[in-house]
Every structure is written in structure tokens, then in C-alpha cells.
């Protein structure tokens, strides 16, 4: 049973207590505790259950690498699953629940899985749930989904009450890790004058050195750390950041860091997380090393911990793992744990050392404290169901015959250390196998490279494989020197000297005992969270999985939320052994960012609610909002779809708006239409290249409709061009098209015809534009007064004029997208709202009716006008739409002309635009296909056309549609059958609807109404 000791704990404030809850139980801890240390101090040994077998699990580590102690943290909107108790700082009111257990942590039904692990070997799902196929969807998957998963997903009805943000930083050097190596690197770089950002993921500086009793320059590490911090805080060019984890290193020195600004506060005023988006010239990874577990039978039972973690809990938080702790190791470092336990007044029944000799200073000190050291020995079994009660010892060299039982409550294990090379590897740094230390270390010859082809990451201290204290600072100083040299700076070289007792070499131990049989191997855990055992990896190897990447996916080794921080090297070594290949040849899996999971909130940053996405607003948007507009997103604009009045459906409103416009006068906010100025001596020539028709002949004062195609020949935009003067054209684009078409113009001007004298300017937002439409449109405008003659004679159809309408500065375009008498009036955006209000006033006597995009769509369809995005989909050319009249035959060239001459484009079998009218007057389904005889190779019905636009026409009181149909224009009057459901397309019985091919112009075919 773990408990709090009466003294000790360098990080906790024993004078104050903090109340928190775990699975509803009220517990207390101290400021400075992590949730893990507080749970252990309260004797909570089981903190979670494993993914596959629901095995009871306790805390195994003390930091980011923890695989077991995952909890549901917080409640309601702040609920978050899979939070590591070891990195969660305790705060008043913290509420956590355990995961993956039912009905309770101590008694779990799913634990039955653990009794039959031989039925759930690696790849079990792949092998078992293949046949019969329908069973997967209806039987297997629901079962697996029910039993799988760790934490509980947040309740979708809740909203996260916290805020998040991004923060962009440019710096010379990012240092990841605030242990003594990171501090030394910061000192060197800071003194050299570099701009430094030093990030430490925990709430404390100094890392492991104070726990391990390291001395620096002859004094305890803590004194040096305090002095280093004081010096760094005094440097203008150095910025220190706690609770900030460097999560990923990317191309060209892009670095992501994750700051947990307010995770340690119950209801913060500050943003909860901040995502640092850093551009660093150089990265120093001072990320330390992870201790490796040992693979012995029962190594996953609560009470078995990493030796270093146990030391952390003793020294940092004053927590004892139990009265009697057996230490099992293959190296000298773990002896520190035995010594620390004994010095805390607790018992170490023995140290089990797999090596044949252990005579270094640390083993000597342990023996001097009276701790028995059993060399050449191993653990054959761990006894206890809910936690350790004893271990059975055997010879490491043998098969596991038990020599003796040792009563204990805890086991401290150490299989050696692996440098944390994640940040080195994220962007392509290569690794080299260090046989002496049995770990991968950065290969200095093959660093990740930046924009200049030079390396931009260095590893410092333990992360570089300098595991012994005496090497750490020298290594960090040298690494920083290399990074500074790449910045053109020279390191001052004032590196401190750390010292600690010498350590003898470790002896690699990948399986304990080395000759263990199948039964024992099936109880040796590699990946605690995903329940992957030595036997699973060996099975994968037997079944032919030779690649480490394949084995990982087959067994799920290292695929849990901890991403194999503890299991990677051990699993790899087991695979290499099973394949009979050397470890470096088998290689390691890819390290991918983030280093530990980061919150979705941090990734989204501020982008939620009102600022989730920019919504572009016209100068008249306020009016639309206040008058109950129903909305339609168009690009980033939000345009009124219609303006329903009390009790009206949207369809009612649309019909009312159309009839009012056709019979009297309607008003449309057309400000979103793109407006681009094209000016210069070569403007006409350029316009002729942009448009399929001839624009250079357009006279000043006149307007012309035109089509724009991509170089592929496909129709990309349409609109009306007005010629302002000899040198200047005003191009109107579709609402979504302004930026795209402006970019398209600049592309050709800058990259192909750069000697042409043409300038463009996107003036879309300079103008508010209002379409005044309907038989009474002229009367409304004339009522406002002004100096523009709006008569048919002075301002005929397709002409434009500039002057004043009422008191407003205006350009008036006599263009129509509805078939009615129509004036599109542009006024400066600042006057837009006042102009709209003036029109409403002036039009009141005519029942002037604002209309939305749906009325616009219906009216244009009644007239047979195409709409970019409805009749076009990126594969349609103007010729398909019967727009040959808008394609100049006289021009040698225009964008898309050559493409339109390709064989496929001139194929007479291309579907062409026609009107469609259902025989029963109903509205055709949008996108419906016209069915043809026979089926294709996929047994789907053949088709001969499809619907591109379809509406109820209140003007004609029937459904109208446009569509592309095989030989359509030659088949006027013919009746086609359209599918109404997907069934019909599959050839199954389903209702179809009959429609007749007609002209696409349904209303006022002669165009008399617009030309008055």
C-alpha cells in the first residue's frame, strides 16, 4: 500500500491541503502534487484498467511516458478523457474518474478477457472477424466498439467554456526541456547573444538532477539550477516558459509548443491552452531519456513501477510505494532507488540484478546500507491479483525455476535508459544504435535539415545519449556550440561540471529470465496500455511480419495514447531476437508529432464561435439581419436566401418575392458581385484573351455579358463587363469569383504577358451594389431624383451611366439577370446602407420587396440564364450550354480556345443544355439522371442526361428545370424518364418521373420585358 511519508517531498507544500475527488471519493493532497502522486499518497494503487484485457493497472511512471494512469478529467463542458495523472497538476476541486472499467475500478466484468488471453492473441480481430462478411457490420463491430476505448467522450450537448489561442514567435533558438542540459544550453546561447526560448513541459525547472543527487561545480544541483535561472531571468534575449511542451518539429524550423496555461486552475480567466507556432533557426532538444521497463512475468501488476519514477515519488512528493520494495535491474542507476528507499526508512528486501557482477560505487553503497544484492538473478513471477504481494526469484540465465519467494508490496524495475530522440526524428533526423548503452541515439552525421540544407536540430545531454551526469553538461555545451555556430555565433564555453558516482555498464536484458517458456512470455507486458506482450510480438514474427512498422500495426505495439514511449525499444529488441536479426537492422518505428497528445482546443485556437471562420458582410448586412433573413453561404459571404415574414415558410417567401418583383419592383443586395478594374493600353487585348467573346470592341458607356474559361477550356466564370473609358474596363464576376478571377488575371499578367501594359485592381468592396428590378424599377429611381437620365432612350438596355441618384454618388448599369426592367446601382460602400434605406422609402408606394438569392435563382432559371456552379461543374465548356453566340470566331486566341479544339471537347455526343418540364408539373429532383436503355459494366442503369437546376416557378405555376442531355437541342419535345432515388440508378424498381425536353427559356423568350 502506497502512502505519504511524514517528511520529504521537495515539490509539495505540506502546510496547505487541497481537496479533490477520484471516482466520487473525497481525497486530499498538497499544492505541488500531481494527480498521480496524490492518488498514491492516498493509497490508491489501482488507477485504471488496460485496453484489451481490462487488467488492473497502477501508476508506473512519473511523467509524460505514463501508459497506465489515464483518467477522465473534469466534468460537464470541461470533461476530457485520457488525461495522464502523472502530468496533471492537482488543484482545489479537481474531479477525476477512472476509465475502461465496468461496473467499478476494483471489480470489472471485462477482466474476464484477461483469463483467456490465449483466445485474444495479436491479430485476433483480423483473423477472426473476416467471415461471414455481413457479421462485421452487425455483430463484430458493435461488440468491439462496446468493449474498446479508454476514456469517455465528452457529452456532445456540452460546450467547452474555456478559450484557446495561438501565439506566433520568431526566435533564434528553441530549447526543449528545462533540465540541467536545457538550462546549460540556455546559458550558453543567452550569453552568446542569441534570442532564446526555453520550454519546460512540467511546472518545475531542473529535471531529474536534484532527485538523483547530482552535484554541479561541487554543490548540490539545486543551487546551480537556482543560480542558472537567476542569470537567465536577467537576460533580455532569453525567454523562459514552464508548462510548455515542445510538441513537434517541422520543416524549415517550424516548431509547435503546447502551453498548458491554466490546466492547473479550476475555472481560469486566462486561455486554457496556448499553441505556440514558432519559427526557430535552431532547435536544441534537451529532452532527457526514458527509463525502460523490464519484461518479466507479471510486470504489469499494480505496484510494479519504473525505478526512477519510484525515486521521483519519494524525493519530489514524499510518497512511499510500499513498506517493502524489491528493485530489479540490469544497471547501476536503479541502485539509487534502493538507496533512496532505504534512506527514507523503508525496507528493500533485495536488489535483483540480472548481471553477474555489480561492484560499482552505487552497488557498494547499497550493500553498505545492508541491502542484499542478488546478481545473475531475475524475477520469475509477480504474485498478487490486485497488486504485488511477493515476487519469485530465479536465475536470469535459466528458464525460470523458482529459487525463492520474496514478500514485498512494490517492485522497482529498470531496464536501462533510452534517449528521448522524438524531436530529432520528427523532421527526418536519423538514429544510430549505441551497443554499449543499448539504445538509439541521434546520428550527428544525419540531422534534420532546414531551408539551407544544413542541420537545424541538436540534441543536448541525455537526449544525445550522454546519460551519466558527468557527461551531460559537457555534451549540452558542445551541442549548443554547434547550434550557435550555425547561427554565426560563438559559444562562450563557460560550461559547468556535474558529478555523480561512476556507473558500470548495463547488460541488455530484453526478456527475464532469458530462457522463459511460452507461458511466462505471455505474461510479460511490453505495451501496458494496449496489452501487447512479448508473446504477441514473437507470434507476429512467426507469422511473417518482418518490418517493424507492420509488426507495430499488427500487434498494436506502441499505438496507444502513449505512442510506445516505454515499449518501443523493448518491443523492437524482442522482434529482432525473434527474427534473428541485429536491432539496428530491424530499425525503429517513425516518431511522429505531437510528442504527447495536445488538445483539440489548442489546435483550433481562437477559431470557434463568432470567429470560427470569417463571414464577409456587405454594407447592408445589418438590415438583412434585422429583417429576418434566412441565410445562404456563398463563398465566405452569407447572403439572404429569402426574407420570410411572420408565419411564412421559406418557399412562401421566395414565391412572394418573385411575384412582387415580376409585377412591381424588387430589391437585391448585389454588393457581393466581384468588381475588378482592368486598365491600360493593352487592356482590350488582355480582355480578349480572358473572355471567349470580343471585349475590345465594346464602346465606352456600354455593357457586355461574357464568359471566362480556364486554359483547360472549361467555363470558370461569367458576368457583365462595362467599358468605363478607352483604357478601362470594369469586370463583374460571380459572388464567389472575385478573388479567384483577380488572382487569375494577375497570374497571366505577371507570369505570361508581363510586357503588356495592363493594371488591375480589385474594387469589389469599394462599392455597395443594389439591383432595382421590376416594371416599376425606373419609377422608384426617378422618385429619388438626381442627375442621371434613366429613360430608355438615354440609358438603354446594356448601357451604363455615372452621376447622382438622389444625393448618392452612383453608377447605374442597365443589366438584367431576371428578365425584368432592371437597374444595378453601385454606390460607395460607405453610402450603401443609406442608399438601401432610401430605395425602401421611395419604393414603399410600389410595395418594393427585398428578395434573396433563391428568388434570384428562380428568376434567372425562368429566363434560361446559366449559373456558374449549377450548370457548370468544372467539366462543362460554353459550347455545352448553347453559348456559342458568346464565343468569338474572329479571335486567334483566348484562354481555353486551344483546349476547346481537342477531340473530346468537340465530340458531338457531349451532353448539351436544354429546358425540362415535367409532364405532371412537379419539380424534378436536383441532380436526377435521365435513364437510358441498358446497364453499364457496374450493372448500373445507363444515363443520357442530368438535371443541373430545378425550381418551382411561381410565375408559370409549374416545375421548371435545366439539364444537360445527350443530343438534347435536337430532341425538342421528346419525353425522358428521370430517376428519383438511387434505387432507380441501380436498376431496381423505383418511381421515375417523366419530363419533356423544351427550350431553356421559359419566360419572355423575346426579351421584351427587360428592354423597356
Amino acid at each position: 500500500m502506497s502512502t505519504r511519508l511524514s517528511e520529504g517531498g521537495r515539490l509539495i507544500d505540506r502546510s496547505r491541503k487541497i481537496a479533490f475527488r477520484f471516482d466520487g471519493k473525497r481525497l486530499t493532497g498538497h499544492p505541488g502534487d500531481t494527480l498521480a502522486s496524490a492518488l498514491m499518497a492516498n493509497g490508491q494503487r489501482i488507477v485504471g484498467r488496460s485496453f484489451k484485457y481490462h487488467r488492473p493497472r497502477g501508476v508506473v511512471a512519473s511523467g509524460a511516458e505514463e501508459p497506465n494512469a489515464l483518467v477522465n478529467l473534469g466534468e460537464g463542458g470541461r470533461h476530457e478523457p485520457n488525461q495522464r495523472a502523472t502530468t496533471t497538476e492537482l488543484f482545489e476541486g479537481l474531479a477525476a474518474t477512472s476509465q475502461n472499467r465496468w461496473p467499478s475500478l476494483d471489480f470489472d466484468i471485462g477482466e474476464v478477457n484477461a483469463l483467456i488471453p490465449r483466445f485474444l492473441p495479436a491479430g485476433f480481430y483480423y483473423k477472426t472477424f473476416i467471415h461471414p462478411r455481413p457479421f462485421w457490420k452487425h455483430v463484430f463491430e458493435p461488440f468491439i466498439r462496446h468493449s474498446a476505448g479508454l476514456g469517455r467522450a465528452p457529452d456532445p450537448r456540452t460546450t467547452d467554456p474555456d478559450r484557446y489561442e495561438h501565439f506566433y514567435v520568431h526566435t533564434d533558438l528553441v530549447i526543449a526541456g528545462g533540465g540541467i542540459a536545457g538550462l546549460q544550453a540556455a546559458l550558453e546561447a543567452g550569453r552568446a547573444g542569441a534570442k532564446v526560448l526555453l520550454c519546460e513541459q512540467t511546472a518545475h525547472w531542473g529535471g531529474r538532477a536534484p532527485v538523483d543527487g547530482v552535484e554541479i561545480d561541487g554543490a548540490p544541483a539545486e543551487a546551480w539550477i537556482a543560480a542558472a535561472l537567476a542569470e537567465l531571468e536577467g537576460m533580455e534575449n532569453v525567454h523562459l516558459r514552464l508548462r510548455t511542451m515542445v510538441a513537434g518539429v517541422y520543416d524549415h524550423g517550424y516548431v509547435i509548443a503546447y502551453e498548458r496555461v491554466a490546466d492547473h486552475v479550476a475555472a481560469p480567466d486566462a486561455p486554457r491552452h496556448r499553441l505556440w507556432r514558432i519559427r526557430a533557426a535552431q532547435v536544441v532538444s534537451a529532452t532527457g531519456a526514458f527509463e525502460r521497463p523490464l519484461s518479466f512475468p507479471g510486470n504489469d501488476k499494480p505496484g510494479v513501477m519504473l525505478a526512477s519514477a519510484m525515486r521521483d515519488y519519494l524525493v519530489n512528493w514524499g510518497v512511499s510505494p510500499g513498506d517493502r520494495t524489491v528493485v530489479v535491474t540490469n544497471n547501476d542507476d536503479a541502485y539509487r532507488t534502493a538507496i533512496a528507499i532505504r534512506k527514507a526508512g523503508l525496507d528493500v528486501p533485495c536488489i535483483v540484478d540480472a548481471r553477474d557482477t555489480a561492484d560499482g560505487p552505487l552497488p557498494q553503497e547499497a550493500r553498505a546500507l545492508g541491502i542484499p544484492v542478488k546478481t545473475g538473478m531475475a524475477i520469475a513471477n509477480v504474485k498478487g491479483l490486485r497488486g504485488v504481494v511477493a515476487v519469485q526469484l530465479c536465475r536470469q540465465a535459466g528458464e525460470g525455476a523458482v529459487i525463492e519467494d520474496v514478500i514485498c508490496e512494490a517492485v522497482a524495475m529498470s531496464g536501462g535508459w533510452s534517449p528521448v530522440v522524438h524531436l530529432w526524428s520528427h523532421c527526418g533526423g536519423k538514429l544510430a544504435w549505441d551497443a554499449g548503452g543499448a539504445f538509439f541515439r541521434p546520428d550527428h552525421e544525419k540531422p534534420p535539415t532546414s531551408h539551407d540544407g544544413e542541420g537545424f536540430v541538436v540534441c543536448a545531454g541525455a537526449a544525445d545519449g550522454a546519460l551519466h551526469a558527468s557527461e551531460v553538461l559537457g555534451n549540452a555545451g558542445a551541442a549548443t556550440g554547434r547550434a550557435l555556430a550555425r547561427l554565426g555565433l560563438s559559444a562562450p564555453g563557460r560550461v559547468a561540471t556535474a558529478s555523480a558516482p561512476d556507473e558500470a555498464a548495463l547488460s541488455p536484458v530484453w526478456m527475464m529470465p532469458q530462457g522463459a517458456g511460452p507461458k511466462k512470455r505471455a505474461k510479460m507486458w511490453l505495451d501496458f496500455q494496449n496489452d501487447v506482450k512479448v508473446s504477441d510480438v514473437q507470434l507476429a514474427a512467426r507469422e511473417g511480419y518482418e518490418s517493424v512498422e507492420h509488426t507495430k500495426r499488427y500487434t498494436t505495439l506502441g499505438m496507444a495514447t502513449d505512442q510506445g514511449k516505454l515499449s518501443n525499444i523493448n518491443g523492437l529488441a524482442v522482434l529482432a531476437d525473434a527474427l534473428g536479426a541485429p536491432i539496428p537492422q530491424v530499425g525503429t518505428t517513425t516518431f511522429r508529432p505531437p510528442f504527447t497528445p495536445i488538445s483539440m482546443g489548442a489546435i483550433a485556437g481562437e477559431a470557434r464561435g463568432a470567429v470560427f471562420q470569417p463571414i464577409r458582410r456587405t454594407p447592408i448586412q445589418d438590415w438583412h439581419e434585422r429583417n429576418g433573413a434566412a441565410w445562404e453561404p456563398v463563398g465566405h459571404w452569407r447572403r439572404p436566401y429569402c426574407f420570410p415574414r411572420d408565419g411564412e415558410t421559406k418557399r412562401d417567401a421566395v414565391n412572394r418575392e418573385i411575384l412582387a418583383t415580376r409585377t412591381s419592383v424588387g430589391l437585391l443586395d448585389a454588393s457581393t458581385l466581384g468588381k475588378i478594374l482592368v486598365k491600360g493600353a493593352d487592356a482590350g487585348r488582355f480582355m480578349d484573351m480572358l473572355y471567349t467573346n470580343m471585349m475590345s470592341t465594346l464602346k465606352p458607356g456600354r455593357c457586355r455579358y461574357g464568359l471566362m474559361c480556364s486554359e483547360n477550356g472549361f467555363l470558370m466564370d461569367d458576368g457583365v463587363v462595362a467599358r468605363l473609358d478607352d483604357e478601362t474596363f470594369l469586370v463583374h464576376t460571380t459572388t464567389g469569383g472575385a478573388d479567384r478571377i483577380h488572382a487569375h488575371m494577375e497570374d497571366w499578367l505577371q507570369c505570361e504577358w508581363w510586357d503588356w501594359k495592363v493594371y488591375t485592381a480589385n474594387v469589389t468592396e469599394q462599392w455597395a451594389q443594389v439591383a432595382v428590378v421590376g416594371p416599376n424599377a425606373r419609377k422608384v429611381l426617378e422618385k429619388l431624383g438626381g442627375d442621371i437620365d434613366l429613360s430608355k432612350e438615354a440609358l438603354p438596355f446594356m448601357a451604363w451611366a455615372e452621376g447622382r441618384i438622389g444625393g448618392f454618388d452612383a453608377r447605374v448599369f442597365r443589366i438584367s439577370f431576371s428578365g425584368e426592367l432592371s437597374f444595378e446601382v453601385a454606390v460607395p460602400a460607405s453610402q450603401g446602407r443609406a442608399f438601401w434605406d432610401a430605395l425602401l422609402d421611395a419604393g414603399a408606394e410600389f410595395g418594393i420587396t427585398p428578395y434573396g438569392t433563391e428568388a434570384l435563382h428562380v428568376m434567372r432559371a425562368e429566363k434560361g440564364f446559366i449559373m456558374i456552379g449549377d450548370e457548370t461543374d468544372g467539366t462543362v465548356i460554353p459550347q455545352d450550354l448553347g453559348l456559342d453566340w458568346a464565343i468569338s470566331k474572329k479571335k486567334d486566341d483566348y484562354l481555353g480556345k486551344r483546349a476547346q479544339e481537342r477531340a473530346h471537347m468537340t465530340d458531338p455526343a457531349r451532353w448539351k443544355l436544354v429546358g425540362l418540364e415535367t409532364l405532371d408539373g412537379s419539380v424534378l429532383p436536383d441532380g436526377a439522371y435521365a435513364i437510358a436503355e441498358g446497364v453499364n459494366d457496374n450493372a448500373q442503369r445507363n444515363t443520357q442526361g442530368r438535371v443541373t437546376s430545378t425550381y418551382w416557378s411561381p410565375t408559370l405555376e409549374k416545375g421548371i428545370a435545366m439539364g444537360l442531355v445527350l443530343n438534347g437541342p435536337d430532341r425538342m419535345g421528346e419525353v425522358l424518364e428521370f430517376n428519383t432515388t438511387r434505387k432507380a440508378a441501380r436498376g431496381e424498381d423505383a418511381p421515375t418521373v417523366k419530363a419533356r425536353i423544351v427550350s431553356p427559356v421559359f419566360y419572355d423568350a423575346q426579351g421584351e420585358k427587360q428592354d423597356v
Binding site: F167, G605, Y759, A761, F808
Partner: protein, 187 residues
């Protein structure tokens, strides 16, 4: 028509670790021309010298900002912009150019506060290197999802210009970044 004219967000203000304010109607003229030969005309009409790359110059009640190798943005009184555009067109007669009043196409914001907080707030929304942004230099960049230009008017004031249609987004973005409790303490 100035009595009827309204800026994008008249009177919009927000407080916090820095203050954000929409600046009302602002005259702006876009000039596109060969900048190597337009200096004389520019000086004549605006009183300002040709700015260096990314630079800004002052004239008589005007300011000229470098937008691209063949584009300037002239800031002036809102009521003077139309005349200024016509004046430039006149002064550059015979020379390939485009001068147009774009006063209403944009919105302008002022951010004021302590120097460090000001940079912290901006660093939440732009990838531009603010430390490299010298006074009198304009940086065209993005504010999260939209294009914008920004410069430091003084140590304690920054200006932001964006398109009119996204003024509300930019204002909300800046106000959120400036919210109390959001101090970063980096700059």
C-alpha cells in the same frame, strides 16, 4: 454625401490588455504605376516622397505606403480621396498607371496599449515577425484567416487595415486576443 457615409463598424471599441478601436472613415487611394518614374507625380499630388520597399512616407495630411513593386496605398482624408485619385490620374497622364479611390473597400483599426502587450496581442493572430517590423514599415500579412496590413504608429500604438467585409471578423479577433487574462508576457 459624407453625412450618409458610414465606416464598416462605426464606434466599435473593445478593451482588455490593449484597447481596440475602429477608426471611422478613412480616405484611401490605390495607385498602380511604375514606381521608378512616378515619384514626381506622387510628390506633387500627395506631398509625400516615394516610399522604400515596405516603407511609408508622410505628405501633407497624407501618408503613402508601399504595397508591392508597382502599387502604393495613399491614406488621406475620406473626403479628399476622390480628388486625389483624379489628381494622380492627371499628373500621370501619358504614363501607364491606375489610380482609384478605394476608401470604402477597407476598414482601419487602432490598437493601443503597453508596448509588450501590444505585440503579444498581435502575435496571437499574425505569423509576421513583429520584432523585425521597424517603425514606419508596413507589413502585409494575414490575421489568422484573412489578409491584412499592419504597422506600428508608435511604441504603444499599432494600426491594422483589412477589407471592409471582414471588419467584424478582424475586430472580434483582436478583441478576443486582447481580452483580460490573456497576457502572454513574451514581448
Amino acid at each position: 454625401m459624407s453625412d450618409l457615409a458610414r465606416s464598416a463598424l462605426p464606434g466599435a471599441e473593445a478593451g482588455g490588455i490593449v484597447s481596440v478601436r475602429e477608426m471611422g472613415l478613412q480616405g484611401m487611394v490605390t495607385l498602380r504605376a511604375d514606381l521608378s518614374v512616378a515619384a514626381k507625380a506622387l510628390k506633387k499630388v500627395t506631398g509625400a516622397a516615394m516610399p522604400e520597399v515596405r516603407g511609408m512616407t508622410e505628405g501633407e495630411g497624407t501618408r503613402v505606403a508601399w504595397m508591392s513593386p508597382d502599387e502604393l496605398l495613399i491614406l488621406c482624408d475620406h473626403s479628399a480621396a476622390g480628388e486625389m485619385a483624379r489628381g494622380l490620374t492627371e499628373a500621370l497622364k501619358g504614363q501607364h498607371h491606375l489610380a482609384v479611390d478605394v476608401s470604402d473597400a477597407r476598414a482601419m483599426f487602432s490598437l493601443t496599449g503597453e508596448a509588450g502587450a501590444l505585440r503579444d496581442v498581435l502575435a496571437k493572430v499574425t505569423p509576421a515577425d513583429l520584432a523585425a517590423l521597424a517603425p514606419g514599415e508596413m507589413r502585409r500579412t494575414r490575421l489568422q484567416q484573412v489578409a491584412a496590413a499592419l504597422w506600428f504608429e508608435s511604441g504603444t500604438e499599432a494600426r491594422v487595415v483589412c477589407f471592409r467585409s471582414v471588419a467584424q471578423y478582424v475586430f472580434d479577433l483582436l478583441a478576443l486576443s486582447a481580452k483580460d487574462g490573456g497576457a502572454v508576457g513574451y514581448h
